[in-house]
């Protein structure tokens, strides 16, 4: 796949991320830790441009420039008090990016005319040999077809569906936390009759759609899954009160990390897998620590308003 030197650079980047988290845990080394993390990210991105066969280079560099200027400008300009909602917004767009990447990867075999054969556990990527495509009339090399078939195996499809769902939840949930902290909507918990049942129903629908997407490899179902994920993110954050919102941002941050990790599995990119997992795991610990520092538990923050609503009603 990609050259060995590039994979070694990815390992260096992964170590940088571990050192960054370690550094950020102590006041003395925090700032240096953040810089080490930024260096690791820069290394990873530069290596990716060189090691992979990248078309559309001009467009991509332009998009990177837009994002970099926008991100740096926003981060420099924002008022100190508005930093938490900016972090929420950055976290949300990261989740959105992960979901889009997974959707596009899923659409690749379909665009090449490859469909998943019947059978949920049909994991033998060799079935593509029976595909009408293997006469290479579509201009696909055997290696390319193998890669596309791999994207339709149950393991990869599960990771794809997970990335799409969790990325969408993180995106819409983060937007709601942003609106709450920015006081564009009320900071008070928003509940409505039957809220827990609606939320439960949406979760069941998401799970069902996820399994269905894995079984069929259908892009249409994956898009519906993404929409249901967006709805679930909104319903997750609406009942949370303003003071508890930072803890929910931390939780959604861990979610995005896991979505990125699963995206790394789909792309067979070990760096994305490690970086995403590190954030997912450390974010979970951090969320619990933050809740404990406020004398709350994570479940009481997420579902407390539901309980309060039911006793009042």
């Amino acid at each position: 796949m990609i050259p060995v030197w590039a994979q070694v650079c990815y390992v260096v980047a992964a170590v940088c991320f571990i050192l960054a988290l370690k550094g950020l845990s102590s006041p003395k080394s925090a700032r240096r830790g953040n810089l080490i993390g930024a260096f690791g990210a820069l290394l990873a991105v530069v290596v990716t441009f060189i090691a992979y066969d990248i078309d559309n280079l001009g467009w991509i560099l332009a998009a990177v420039a837009v994002g970099a200027i926008g991100g740096a400008w926003g981060a420099r300009r924002v008022a100190m008090t508005a930093m938490p909602q900016l972090v929420a917004l950055f976290n949300g767009v990261g989740g959105g990016a992960a979901a889009l990447v997974a959707l596009l990867e899923l659409s690749e075999p379909a665009r090449a005319g490859l469909v998943k054969p019947d059978g949920f556990f049909n994991n033998d990527a060799g079935w593509f040999a029976y595909s009408p495509l293997n006469d290479e009339s579509g201009g696909h090399s055997l290696e390319e077809l193998e890669r596309l078939a791999q994207l339709l195996t149950t393991g990869t499809l599960t990771a794809t569906a997970f990335t799409i769902l969790i990325g969408a939840v993180s995106f819409s949930g983060s937007v709601i936390t942003f609106l709450k902290l920015q006081e564009l909507m009320t900071g008070r918990p928003i509940t409505f009759p039957g809220g827990p049942f609606v939320f439960g129903g949406v979760l069941v629908a998401a799970l069902g759609l996820g399994v269905w997407t894995v079984a069929t490899g259908s892009v249409t179902l994956a898009i519906i899954l993404a929409i249901v994920g967006l709805l679930a993110g909104v319903l997750l954050v609406l009942p949370v009160g303003g003071a508890d919102v930072p803890i929910v941002i931390s939780l959604l941050n861990a979610f995005t990390g896991l979505a990125v990790a699963a995206g790394g599995y789909v792309l067979e990119n070990a760096l994305l897998l490690v970086a995403g997992t590190l954030v997912g795991a450390s974010g979970t610990i951090l969320t619990r620590a933050m809740a404990r520092a406020m004398g709350r538990s994570v479940s009481s923050i997420l579902f407390g308003a539901f309980k309060g609503g039911s006793t009042a009603g």
Partner: protein, 99 residues
């Protein structure tokens, strides 16, 4: 399939490293640590670039470029805002010392 198991092994090990590495964080650093971790998952930019770099249809390229912009916002904005938070921490100390 062995490739999949190798990635799964990496995943499990990374979970433990992630747990361990932040286990002793002081509560004053909760927000910067969250912000720094947030910046790190911005490396999904790597994935966005790979997907955009193989796009062969205009529609796919447009969606992939949106992902590139979003991921770069996350990555660059995340590290810059974390640095600003920590600058604030460092800046607070000198005025405290004379007082």
């Amino acid at each position: 399939m062995t490739e999949g198991v190798a990635l799964l092994t990496v995943f499990v090990l990374a979970v433990f490293v992630g747990f361990e590495v932040v286990s002793k964080v002081s509560s004053t650093l909760h927000t910067p640590l969250m912000s720094g971790a947030n910046a790190i998952h911005g490396v999904i930019l790597v994935g966005s670039v790979i997907v955009a770099g193989t796009a062969d249809e205009a529609g796919v390229l447009v969606v992939a470029l949106i992902a590139v912009v979003l991921a770069t916002l996350n990555l660059v904005g995340g590290f810059v805002v974390t640095d600003r938070m920590l600058e604030m921490f460092g800046g607070k100390r000198p005025p405290d010392a004379p007082a």
